[in-house]
Symmetry: C2
């Protein structure tokens, strides 16, 4: 195994009715900024419950609503303004990854002397931040228990990441994860969540670490479980036990544990997808469902070894009398069948986009780097070929 | 799944040469108390390396050496005395579970108005403590990344636990886990470590939680991996890759992750073993190797259901044309064969102890509780029957 640091100070409250723990967590704070999206939290009465707890605990609070699915810098700036003028000491994100990511960017942007866009461009590491708490309503990004956030610079049409795994500033201090709040997530968002969770795990699974038995087996457990429950959940959206399993998989897929064991992982598919969804404003999960199979087919040609393990351990593909290439592509085919079965998109062709500028997408993927990826190092030419598969 | 809280603020530095990170971690502290055992850290030059780093960083330091395998209250009291008189602000434990456990008890004992014996008897929860750091030299207890410690009250012949999972006081702030330091661990201690790691995982595996797919699969990964590498390692003690795998398994077996997913687990075997090793001063791993199979046989008679899963998933026992009892006992037999294969003790008869007082052991196990365990609730009479199996 490569050396790694594993650090995660978030306190996770998992299960039914854990919202009551907010009473305990609020005791350290006086002024709260609620951050949320389009108002789905009002439909499930979560909004009212949180307001009641805030009032019971005599906290003053302010609100930033309308966080977009791919959250924008201007929304983060609005939040920073409120935090600074109202002297907020807790940012409470109620929602999914976009809402929580916005809270993280506000948290560090509010105490930095630098503009949030500079911070996002990674020119500065911000070690301090306003405290963040979350109430999760969507299983997907794992943002509830990690320090990362992705914000869209909509002027430059770029998605920019922020947050350092060893630095506490952008970790939520606490996250309340009650699967009940995800029972009403619509079908398309549920599909995207399933894809997102599997993709995070796959990115780490495809690595060049040696002797990482535990990292490999833990990743396979998450992938197999999501492949098992995904189709069931799509046809039974209000099933609590399936929602519960999806929620814990989502958190574990991207909270630093697999990252440490698996030497970070590949992440080329995510980098390609971030370019795609920055330009075309498609959902992250949709983009991943299209990019990952193309990435797999391209990379299995170069080195099928890990794809053989994937085919055998995830899909029980028989190995006898087959070449590694054949086994690898049987596994990839099975994975594509799974994506089709849950109703994930198959190709960018479905979006009927005109005048696609592949070179611009390559540039936004590479962002000045000579190569991306770990399992296979990809240069700009490789990325172009993968993009040509999907368009 | 039952509701759970997952919280673990320890920063883990894993891998070769991570001792250099001590330079970074020391920056917050001025006066260090080194805690270590019988001097094995001097044989592998780890002691010299740490002293050099302390001197390079101009820290003043004091030493508490000679921590026992089952650490005693009088040793903890010595440490508390040094911390108080010298105004120590970091306790640096270099060793295995006993050394780290001692550091934890010193950490909270030094700031409490109450005597350490009162704290250990759980009369008071201690929320603050002196900072703890660790350099791990033995894979076994998981103490490097959890808040628990076990100290022996040798006057009363009792083992007493301390440390709350939701309270940071007894978590190490950082732990340096370099498998290199475990390459010279002798065979008998390695055997005990293998047993200890498997036993921690088994205790959590046998639970009454519903729908805990991930908890079950993660636990099985650790158990299967340890059962695979255990015999190889016993015959190849200096194999770095095997030591590396054992070290990460040891940490993951008991750092709160499995505990949360698996609703804490059973732990009756540990409670029986703590009574045993408090009275007879045998190693914890030896006691567990004797108690667990007896606990298994006794409990599988009452409800074989989880033992069937254990037999199937850990040992690939075929299920066809067999009763649940038969499958369960085949699994238990396979586990006993494994323990024999690695050279773990089989029975308390091997120790040739005269005048065994079973009733006193029952009392020390129950400690006033009416029942212990979760998978099967055991009363004093059940515990007596299990003790009669092993003596």
């Amino acid at each position: 195994m490569n050396n790694f640091i594993w650090y995660n100070p978030t306190k996770l409250y998992f299960g039914k009715g854990q919202i009551k723990k907010l009473n305990y967590e609020l005791k350290n704070y006086q002024k709260v900024l609620l951050v949320y999206g389009g108002g789905s939290i009002k439909k499930i009465s979560l909004y009212e419950d949180v307001i009641e707890i805030l009032k019971d605990n005599e906290k003053s609070f302010f609100e930033l609503s309308g966080v977009e699915p791919n959250p924008k810098i201007k929304t983060v700036r609005k939040g920073i303004e409120i935090v600074k003028t109202q002297k907020i000491d807790l940012i409470l994100a109620i929602g999914g990854g976009s809402t929580i990511d916005t809270a993280k960017a506000i948290a560090v942007g509010s105490v930095s002397q630098n503009d949030i866009l500079d911070l996002l461009k990674n020119k500065y590491i911000q070690k301090e931040g306003i405290a963040i708490g979350t109430v999760l309503t969507l299983s997907a990004t794992g943002s509830e228990m990690n320090p990362r956030c992705v914000i869209s610079d909509d002027e430059a049409k770029l998605k920019l990441g922020l947050g350092i795994w060893e630095v506490p500033a952008t970790y939520p201090k606490f996250s309340i994860c009650d699967p009940t709040y995800t029972l009403t997530v619509p079908k398309n968002q549920t599909i995207n969540g399933v894809v997102d969770i599997i993709s995070h795990t796959l990115e780490q699974y495809f690595n060049r670490n040696e002797n990482n038995i535990i990292g490999e087996r833990f990743a396979e457990t998450l992938i197999k479980t999501m492949i098992d429950i995904g189709p069931k959940l799509i046809n039974d959206l209000q099933n609590y036990q399936l929602r519960e399993t999806m929620m814990i998989c989502g958190t574990l897929a991207w909270n630093g544990l697999l990252r440490g064991l698996n030497n970070n992982g590949d992440w080329a598919s995510h980098q390609i997808e971030h370019a795609l969804s920055a330009v075309y404003d498609i959902a992250h999960g949709e983009g991943l469902a299209i990019v990952i199979p193309a990435w797999m087919e391209y990379c299995a040609e170069k080195d099928p070894s890990k794809f053989v393990v994937f085919a055998k351990n995830i899909f029980n593909i028989k190995l006898e009398n087959k070449t590694d290439q054949e086994i690898a592509f049987e596994g990839i085919k099975a994975f594509k069948m799974f994506l089709k079965k849950i109703g994930a998109p198959q190709s960018m062709k479905d979006y009927k986009i005109k005048n696609v500028n592949i070179d611009a997408l390559v540039e936004k993927t590479m962002l000045g780097r000579k190569t991306i990826g770990q399992y296979i190092l990809l240069d700009a030419n490789d990325v172009k070929k993968i993009l040509n598969i999907i368009f």
